[in-house]
């Protein structure tokens, strides 16, 4: 009796997984199907009809949408932001965890409070600041802005991690004649690799996909990031769903590859944020 019940439960479980997999993957299937299809309204033939395969849509999307340039811009901004948040976030998190003087305590509580403030609130006043520092339509200003938005999360993760690290190694290093800063930079920073990888991976998704800030501050087409080019491409090619799908696929692929290769870090990173409690 019990075995029968167990088997039933297991079967139901697998049926549930099948449905779940269908729901999660079906849009991607449709996306590939339309992007690879030569017919202008491919789905009217049914979703599983043999496609009239062509790579032309990808070529159209790549050339007309300037996706290559956009991918390069996205990459530059993402890379710049990552360097900044790792360097600044790590040293701030470290100091806050190790030396809790009043200043560090105040700084940390400000960071914590500001985690509650959605970034979009600042865009209008930021626009005036950006104009004053000639930061509109430049990559460096975008990098500074996006990394500033991301810093609280970063500092929080680093602080959390450093608190769980033993002090012995740093102290040994200072005894051996390192200055405090050297002890941090040469000993502790390399040991923080697990958080660094988490911060880099989780944040790169948010930098790469950023649209709501980029749309304000990058108005020149040659500086567009992938989401901006995608939007522009859709506006210019309404109804041409084949090439829109191809463009969507192209802009989705880098992050999908990153995720599939580094899955375990994504999962670890989110879990690290969750142990806050």
């Amino acid at each position: 009796m019990k075995g029968y019940k167990n088997r039933l439960r297991r079967t139901l479980g697998y049926i549930g997984m099948g449905i779940l997999a269908f729901i999660m993957l079906f849009p991607f299937y449709v996306l590939c199907y339309v992007a690879l299809n030569n017919r202008s309204n491919p789905l009217s033939q049914g979703v599983f009809a043999m496609p009239d395969i062509t790579a032309e849509n990808f070529i159209t999307a790549w050339q007309r949408g300037n996706l290559g340039g956009a991918a390069w811009n996205s990459f530059l901004i993402t890379a710049g932001c990552l360097v900044l948040i790792v360097l600044l976030g790590a040293s701030a998190g470290y100091t806050i965890a190790r030396y809790s003087n009043t200043m560090n305590k105040i700084i940390f509580s400000i960071f914590l409070c500001c985690m509650m403030v959605p970034g979009i609130i600042n865009t209008v006043p930021l626009y005036t600041i950006m104009r004053r520092i000639h930061g509109i339509n430049t990559h460096w200003a975008m990098i500074l802005l996006l990394s500033a938005n991301r810093l609280p999360y970063c500092v929080f993760l680093y602080k959390q991690f450093v608190e769980s690290m033993p002090r012995d190694l740093e102290e040994a290093a200072t005894l051996d004649g390192c200055s405090r800063f050297q002890a941090y930079w040469l000993v502790t920073f390399p040991l923080m690799k697990p958080v660094t990888s988490t911060v880099v991976i989780i944040s790169s998704v948010s930098f790469w996909n950023n649209y709501s800030q980029a749309v304000f501050f990058l108005q020149e087409k040659s500086l567009y990031t992938l989401p901006l080019s995608m939007k522009q491409f859709v506006l210019e090619n309404t109804k041409n769903w084949n090439s829109i799908s191809a463009a969507a696929l192209i802009s989705a692929v880098p992050m999908v590859i990153l995720f599939l290769c580094l899955q375990k870090y994504f999962i670890k990173g989110l879990a690290a944020g969750a142990v806050k409690g």
Partner: protein
């Protein structure tokens, strides 16, 4: 002097980060609060103090009120749905069945793609003339129930909600899974010995242990949902009419329409709408502990 700075630098290493954060976050925030009391257009040198006029204007404008209500409705529903779905999936995929790891990958996958791009993909799926959703519904025999949902004011917001739940349940699920794995197995064993069934174990062992995961999920989702922007732009662009216009879309349009003072006032209102529930939930959970 220089030596002293060098010797004590390690204590102040938080300053560079704070400086950057100050310039690009705190300073604009303060500037925005000041700006919200003016009628500045964003370009000219002219800037007059108008007191609370912008805020009064907001609450008098029926379009603005509607965006606020839409945002609040969405901000209420989205965290609930994402947490229910995320928790359900976590419990389901924490079981001892095979292939659960692969399923987790599938569920998480959409959330690494830009919400804007995913919005366009769903627009393609939901097209009335030969969209994939229609094909599937016809195949299952529900073809008659298909509507061009995005074109109707009553249903467009629900579609935005569904797409977001589909896309962003993965991270919530992963956080709940981490929470589930931190529950000590002995607790379950003790509960089994005491004769607790599955539901009782869920209620008395699992849920209390998931509180930290629950807290972080609810708060981050509320903040995210109240400032939803990208998927609205891609799916409906605030339409039909202004039916799905959320506050962040409205802010963008107002600032592009040379009403900088008013737009910052709206941003401050959004800030207040966000802070109230977050602080409330945070407090309530701290007290319970």
């Amino acid at each position: 002097m220089l030596k002293k700075i060098k010797a004590n630098y390690y204590k102040c290493m938080a300053l560079p980060a704070f400086l950057l954060f100050f310039c690009f976050f705190i300073y604009p925030l303060c500037l925005g609060i000041g700006m919200s009391f003016t009628n500045w257009d964003g370009v000219s040198a002219e800037k007059t103090f108008v007191g609370l006029w912008n805020f009064r204007e907001f609450f008098r404008d029926s379009r603005a009120i509607h965006t606020m209500l839409t945002t609040i409705k969405y901000g209420l529903l989205e965290p609930i749905c994402i947490n229910v779905v995320g928790l359900g999936l976590a419990l389901f995929l924490d079981s001892k069945l095979k292939m659960t790891n692969l399923m987790r990958t599938f569920v998480y996958l959409p959330s690494v793609i830009s919400a804007l791009v995913m919005g366009y993909v769903w627009q393609l799926m939901l097209r009335p003339d030969g969209g994939a959703v229609r094909q599937v519904m016809e195949f299952l025999g529900f073809g008659a129930h298909f509507k061009a949902w995005l074109a109707y004011p009553d249903s467009a917001l629900w579609i935005i909600l569904l797409v977001n739940v589909w896309q962003f349940s993965g991270p919530a699920m992963v956080i709940y899974l981490a929470g589930l794995q931190s529950v000590p197995q002995e607790l379950y064993e003790v509960a089994t010995i005491d004769g607790a069934g599955y539901l009782q174990k869920l209620k008395c062992v699992t849920f209390p242990m998931l509180k930290p995961a629950f807290q972080i999920n609810v708060i981050t989702n509320i903040i995210g949902a109240l400032s939803v922007h990208d998927s609205v732009v891609a799916l409906t662009d605030g339409g039909p009419g202004y039916a799905t216009e959320t506050i962040s879309v409205y802010i963008y349009r107002m600032s592009a329409g040379a009403r900088a003072g008013y737009a910052t006032a709206v941003a401050i209102i959004l800030l207040l709408i966000t802070m109230l529930p977050t602080i409330f939930i945070y407090r309530a959970m701290q007290k319970e502990r």
